[in-house]
């Protein structure tokens, strides 16, 4: 089960299609749901689709910096989750709901 075997048998297009589908599912989740936590998880899904694609291209081109960038994406995502969840808890504490349709004060 070597990576050379993967590279020979699976064309890179299949990785591109897989991560495109995951990204589109994330976008659909952001558009469809009202729960702020689900929207946040959809954003994580989109980040991971990009991560998978970067790793696939990095392996196919045997290019190490691609995987370093994946590492940095994970770092930034961890920081983002910490702040975002704190904001969600704060919103819930103030208005007793995380329905994003209640949070429309800045909309117009």
């Amino acid at each position: 089960m070597d990576a050379t075997q993967i590279i020979k048998t699976i064309p890179i297009e299949h990785y591109v299609i897989l991560s495109t589908i995951l990204f589109a599912i994330g976008v659909t989740g952001v558009l469809m749901r009202r729960n702020a936590i689900i929207i946040f998880m959809s954003i994580e899904l989109m980040l991971n689709a990009a991560t998978l694609l970067l790793t696939a291209f990095s392996t196919y081109r045997s290019d190490t910096p691609g995987q370093v960038f994946v590492f940095f994406i994970m770092v930034v995502a961890a920081a983002e989750v910490a702040v975002g969840l704190a904001i969600i808890v704060m919103i819930y504490r103030n208005i007793k709901s995380i329905d994003i349709n209640v949070l429309n004060k800045l909309k117009w």
Partner: protein, 179 residues
Amino acid sequence: MGSSIFYFLGFVSIFTALMVILSKSPINSVLYLVITFFSIAAQFVLLNAGFLAAVLVIVYAGAIMVLFLFVVMLLNLNKEYEPHKHIYIKFAGGIAGGILLVTLIGALHGSGEIADSTLNGEASYAASTGTIQNLGKSLFSDYLLPFEISSVLFLAAMVGAVFLGKKEKSSPKVSAEKI
């Protein structure tokens, strides 16, 4: 053998990602997202990126998802309270996501460049690409400054999270009725 594992993992990750956005209760969504992350980590192992797979499992499936689960339980969102969006809005969201998917895949098919670059990569594939050794060398020589800056980012995020999560004693409570 390897390719059938890839297609199985791809199917699992797409199915669980769909379940993340379709399941009613947030707890189920979090658990499905954990399965999605595990299947993506298995894809990393297939791609010979063992370090990234370990980081994904430890940081994402371990720490971040536990944080999500913790918040869901803290806010007591387990009950299926969510007042649903209007059915037309949901429909429009699904259509927009599907159109995005079709557009991106159409753009991929429109450009025939990728196959050539893949062949180039296969000829000169180095098995040591994703090892911890190579990754560490690259991270601590070429990308040392971004690495250090990311630690400052973590400090800022930590302080910000503590500051946001702190209860303010003096400020007047804003009640739900007011909003």
